[in-house]
Symmetry: C2
Subunit: 348 residues, 2 copies
């Protein structure tokens, strides 16, 4: 316990600061490094109590690597320890799921590492669920390898879907938050041939409602301009290139305007991203993945933040992978992780 | 004839310069203005003999407006005058289809203006077809309103399709040429729901062949890097999000590599545009309109050049419309038209 006294019970937010839970991700990836680099920034550290769910030894070694000098308050936890941990102010609280102990080497992913990464995610959800609803909290997830996790946990396709199931969420929205603009794909990881048949008024309206409710969190502005993409080229040209704009998107956008005025669409995608690039549109709600991610990543590669709406708590993550190839070298760029934490802090 | 002597027959290229044919576009739009502004640039004017097919009076008025001082050699033409005109060196040759005479006011499009714009396009094709195949020539089209043209010529959907039919072309490829990178949508103005069923090995291979053959024209480089997009998000993730990558795109790209090495793909769209933005990929061949036009226009809005491959001659145009609202005010930006002419000159 590093000599620290047990000050606070987990469910009491000390000195009225929000609580940010951060999962380690794959212990052999750059997760631990970018977490510590981010938490070393005063404009982050001073704003919340941070709880990392991860491997104590890995974080101690990483602290040596990056020169992280703050106290590490490591506590062992297991799946029954819900509510039994205490948070230390002024220290980095590390909750270590001890059921998975082993050597984790940077750049050398193992099955045990995947198991530990998954245990961290599982524990994080358990702890967050144990907190009262009124508590200000958010989850930030460091990258793990979904391919490796899927080997030990078949069916795992990513954080978003795991958390949706863990929170029994009926409807989640994925947002990519960027410096210049943010994007929201209404349909996500489905074949292109299935996109049109998955677009309907209900999915557009539900997505828009979650976006409207979280517009400040997404954009950092009180009244961001929100634009909705058409499905077809040139917004269908009045029905000549597809009818979904007239039949589905236009009515859905019109009906959603009763909740928020500063909403436009459907606008053809090759026009709206120009507006977004010129900062005239803050949030682009798009019909499918490859309509919005290419322009977004073009100007935000490795700097975007993945934000999930519709869970029991706000969840963000950096928009990059485990980067096993550069792990353990103290050369990983923590910018996206810092942004992920800052976006989570907007929810507080 | 402005005192100029009849020097050269149309089919003889004077002083070994290439011939660039430029259509006026809608006489009430910004076409005439951006044409003259472009031709006033020494880095354009000195490189070719320019033949404008347009209204003589409109161009004289526009010359007063923009301060264009070069001699205008206006000749009347009609649909039977093929081969009977003469080109003047040192002057701007204007061929005026006289069947359509009238008052054309900037900013006030009329049915007669549309008829004249269409006559100019028709005449341009006739003249170019009359030239020997060995002659260096290219067509640059100024913007017209396809909605207005469609009213007098039902079925008109745009320059590209008109020229495809006029040239009896079996297969044309549309390219958007930009400063940083160029894009080629394999399918174009079709509903999104029909994209997947229109993607097959043949269309990919034919497009790639036209792109490979014209790679210098498109990119200005001898050996540009050409990247081919996947159809599905994340390039299908090995078959988990669609099979077209494995079944269609991968084999088509592999087979095309025998013609050109510097070809990669399929690459997921949200990765390849980042490479393109970083100038690591020069030409992105994409499966559909909204996969490539949004990132392209985001950084090339109103500056891109539309290039059509597969006609009897190279054809380029600026990537913007008639801009009736600012016509006749001498405030139109000619940058995209200048680029369109410069790309056409690359073909010479």
């Amino acid at each position: 316990m590093n000599g620290l006294k047990k000050k606070e019970k987990m469910h009491i937010s000390p000195i009225n600061k929000p609580q940010i839970f951060i999962t380690m991700g794959d212990p052999s990836g750059i997760g631990p490094e970018i977490v510590l680099k981010s938490l070393d920034k005063p404009d982050i550290w001073d704003l919340a109590i941070f709880v990392v769910i991860g491997d104590g030894r890995v974080f101690k070694e990483t602290a040596s690597l990056t020169g992280f000098k703050k106290c590490l308050a490591v506590q062992d936890v297991d799946q029954t320890s819900e509510g039994k941990v205490f948070l230390h102010e002024g220290a980095l609280n590390i909750l270590d799921p001890v059921s998975f102990v082993g050597d984790f080497e940077p750049g050398k992913p193992t099955s045990l590492g995947s198991k530990k990464a998954l245990a961290c995610l599982k524990n994080a959800v358990q702890f967050m669920k144990g907190l009262p609803e009124t508590e200000k909290k958010a989850l930030v997830t460091a990258p793990l390898s979904k391919e490796y996790i899927a080997e030990i946990f078949p069916g795992f396709v990513g954080h978003t879907e795991y958390l949706r199931d863990a929170y029994l969420s009926e409807f989640v929205t994925m947002v990519m938050v960027g410096d210049m603009f943010s994007v929201v794909p209404i349909t996500r990881h489905i074949p292109l041939k299935d996109v049109a048949k998955n677009i309907n008024k209900q999915i557009i309206k539900r997505t828009l409602l979650q976006v409207l409710e979280n517009r400040r969190l997404i954009s950092g502005k009180e009244n961001p301009v929100i634009g909705v993409c058409a499905l077809n080229p040139h917004s269908g040209e009045g029905g000549k290139i597809g009818h979904e704009e007239i039949d589905i998107i236009e009515p859905a956008v019109e009906e959603s305007k009763k909740f928020y005025d500063n909403l436009m669409g459907p606008v053809s995608a090759d026009t709206i991203f120009y507006y977004a690039y010129k900062k005239q549109v803050d949030i682009v709600v798009s019909m499918y993945h490859d309509q919005c991610l290419p322009p977004f990543k073009m100007v935000n590669f490795d700097r975007g933040v993945n934000l999930t709406l519709g869970l029991g708590a706000i969840r963000t993550s950096p928009d990059h992978g485990t980067a096993f190839g550069i792990a353990g070298k103290n050369i990983a760029n923590s910018e996206s992780m810092e942004q992920a934490i800052k976006v989570a802090l907007r929810a507080m």
